[in-house]
């Protein structure tokens, strides 16, 4: 520390107690360094390879130089305070941000080594591969059957009525809804309970055999029982799909995900095994957030 001291006093003359650091250093972990994520943001078996991603809303930079791999068949949870950019980042993965005029996405985003933002890319095909479930259940004002059959029909996945029936049944079974609705497939979907509607939306998303399911706070409008059913479903789906879930419930992230990513003011601060994040996170900000020290 003496070498840092700029006063002319020589070391020999200086009383012991005066030998203090020139400036108090902050612990390194409390500082966010742009583009630097602590923990394990990368994977050897990446489904998504995302590098130096930046998202602008007009002049505002909502996502600041984020690099992340999302592994095949993993459940990764995005957590962070409101406005931290987790939903914005999620929506980059199937180009849902395209619908917002002032939104620009920079950086390299690849799904299975194919550029997601290639101008020649068919966005409809991309969204069939990367399905999405939203915060509020949003079934079409149609019958339960037609809600699930909608995607397979427009994508031409079934040639015969019996094929379509199979897809509808399988999707509803995977979504854990079949037993509850098999006798009333013609009933209107909007008459179902909130939890059932959300599981119907999941069934609709998986009916087109996506590879990835994005979930933007899928349980925030559901009661604990319906939430438990959706979480159970996530665990089952993770055997065959890659799942990215944005959640405000830390306990939910802890329960369902393999890895957890903590976002803060547009930065990706930490990505680690979920077990590690909730028992001994590496970054002070992650710790502060998950232990309820700031909101």
């Amino acid at each position: 520390m003496n070498t840092l001291n700029t006063t002319v006093t020589s070391e020999a003359e200086m009383p012991e107690e005066n030998v203090v650091p020139v400036q108090e250093e902050k612990p390194a972990e409390t500082v966010i360094e742009e583009g630097k994520t602590v923990g394990r943001p990368f994977s050897d078996d990446a489904k998504f390879k995302l590098r130096n991603v930046e998202v602008f809303y007009g002049q505002d930079r909502a996502i600041k130089n984020i690099s992340l791999d999302i592994a095949r068949n993993e459940v990764i949870a995005f957590i962070g305070p409101s406005g931290c950019g987790k939903s914005t980042f999620l929506r980059c993965l199937n180009r849902m941000n395209d619908s917002i005029d002032i939104c620009r996405v920079k950086g390299s985003l690849h799904l299975d080594d194919q550029d997601i933002y290639d101008p020649k890319r068919d966005v409809v095909e991309l969204r069939a591969r990367v399905g999405m479930v939203f915060q509020k259940p949003n079934p079409f004002p149609k019958s339960i059957y037609d809600n699930v059959a909608y995607g397979p029909r427009i994508h031409g996945l079934a040639n015969r009525k019996s094929d379509l029936d199979d897809i509808v049944e399988n999707s509803l079974r995977k979504a854990g809804l079949w037993e509850e609705v098999k006798d009333r497939l013609d009933a209107t979907a909007t008459g179902m309970s909130g939890g059932q509607q959300q599981r119907l939306c999941i069934a609709r998303a998986i009916a087109v055999s996506p590879e990835v399911v994005l979930m933007d706070e899928p349980c925030s409008a559901l009661d604990p029982i319906a939430t438990a059913k959706v979480e159970e479903l996530i665990a089952e789906l993770s055997e065959s799909y890659t799942i990215v879930i944005v959640t405000h419930s830390m306990q939910q992230a802890a329960r369902v995900s393999h890895r957890t990513a903590y976002f803060h003011l547009g930065h990706l601060v930490e990505v680690n095994e979920t077990n590690k994040v909730f028992t001994s996170p590496e970054h002070e900000l992650t710790e502060s957030y998950i232990t309820g020290r700031f909101g």
Binding site: P27, E29, T30, M250, Q251, A254, F278, T279, S280, P281, E282, H283, E284, T286, E287, I290, T291, G292, R293, F294, G295
Partner: protein, 240 residues
Amino acid sequence: MPTQKDDVYGDHISHKFNDELMELKTEFLKMGGMVEAQVENAIQALVDGDGHLAEQIRAKDKQVDKMEMDLDEEATLIIARRQPTARDLRLVISVIKMVADLERVGDEAKKIAKLAIKLSEEGQAPRGYVEVRHIGTHVLGMLHDSLDAFARLDSEQALRIMKEDKRVDEEYQAAARTLLTFMMEDTRNISRCMSVMWVLRALERVGDHACNIAENVIFMVKGEDVRHTPVEEAERVVGR
């Protein structure tokens, strides 16, 4: 690893949560202080042949048991109400484990008190009391330091306690050999020396419990479990 500060459990958005964690910490230290006094008094009762003090220790052990149950309940309620994570979770889990250690230390003190009564009733010249005093002072220091390390979240001090434990084991072995010599000298010493041996054994266990507490402190601060690992590994964890 995030840094640890003194007010590390006192800066949640929920003040009630702060209070609950602080209360848990304070009550644990209170129990620690009580148990420490029990061991100290037990040694005193033994070397002074003070049967009255020994009786007091046996009576007070019920209070220690009660504190164990109260702290366990408090920790359980925090988990149920708050679902603590990270350092808060590590505090609650560690307290649950360390409370069991403290209760066992209390039991060892009670055991020593019981032997103190027996020995004072037999009323012969003391044998092996030098060793009792020596090891007693050593393990009491360890217990005190482990509670201090907990209060200050000082993982380096905790590491020092882990290293001390090996020395206590050596001292115990040496003391046992000395007592064996007394027994071989005169067989009439055997019963008495065996009682003192039990006292030494109890003190050695107190050292083990202090060491367990120290290991938990390292877990609380560093987030890594250093139980059943070589001291070198604990050194690496603490040095990070």
